[in-house]
Amino acid sequence: MVIDWANFTPMSSALGGALIGLAALLLYLFNGRIMGASGILGQALAELTQPVEGSRLGWRVIFLFSMLAGPTLYLFVTGQEVARQQVAASPAMLALAGLIVGIGTGLGSGCTSGHGICGLARFSKRSLAAVLVFMAFGFLTVFAMRLVGGQ
């Protein structure tokens, strides 16, 4: 292992993480909801495609759309565009990765925000197991891609 000091951004990453944590804290304390991106999106999509009685679609749609303000707010706060560089080699690879992420977070009832930030904070053993497993498979996948790609 070699530390990539050139790209290491502990301050901004911790600040961003603290804001994500603050958002999760406020959503739970005021609205009683867990801030999990895959859960909120999945439930919104399920209710959109198959309307249910007593639907609670409103807050989820508002939450999801307001997330789109992120890059604009970033520009407003820092005066810079968000740095962004894709790594998926092709549109097919992007679609495959997206499909697997969707199936996986649907089956596993959560993602980096729901299990990683919210679940761990309330000492959920399910979330701890999920985080350890998805981290391990993330590391393994990048390692495997490195071998295949010969980078």
């Binding site: 993480g17 603050l22 999945g42 309330r122 498979f137 990048v142």
Partner: protein, 137 residues
């Protein structure tokens, strides 16, 4: 009031992802590249997010109900089952392939480019399909 709070927290989440560097797939892969040239930054995202949320959880657990709503909605499941582990493993693989997890995938739609849309639509389809299978069981 609770809808206004949803609006504020969604925007805060999106801004946090941008500042943290989570909207940049190359940076996420740099974090997952533990055997190569490792960029540990994203450990600071989760660490800081957790610390803030730990405080929040200690405040929330003393309350019987949230401030704007009638009750706290918590996941009912408490067993580590095969579905959870298989799902998490699949998610890890997809995350490692493209460097995008669901939050950044949603926020990235704001960039209005084809990469963001392709990933999001595939992810939405996967979410719907897996939820349908789960509900049938």
């Amino acid at each position: 009031m609770s809808l206004l709070l949803s609006l504020i927290t969604g925007a805060l989440f999106g801004l946090g992802l941008a500042i943290a560097g989570m909207l940049n797939p190359a940076k996420v892969i740099g974090f997952l590249d533990i055997t190569g040239n490792w960029d540990p930054s994203l450990a600071f995202v989760m660490g800081a997010g957790l610390v803030v949320n730990l405080i929040g959880w200690q405040i929330a657990r003393r309350r019987t109900q949230p401030i704007f709503e009638r009750r706290f909605h918590l996941p009912q499941a408490n067993q580590i089952d095969r579905r959870l582990l298989v799902g998490a493993a699949l998610f890890g693989i997809g995350w490692g392939l493209a460097g995008l997890c669901p939050g950044p995938a949603i926020t990235s739609l704001a960039f209005l480019d084809s990469e963001a849309f392709i990933f999001f639509i595939a992810m939405a389809a996967g979410l719907l399909v897996s939820r349908r299978i789960f509900i049938k069981n």
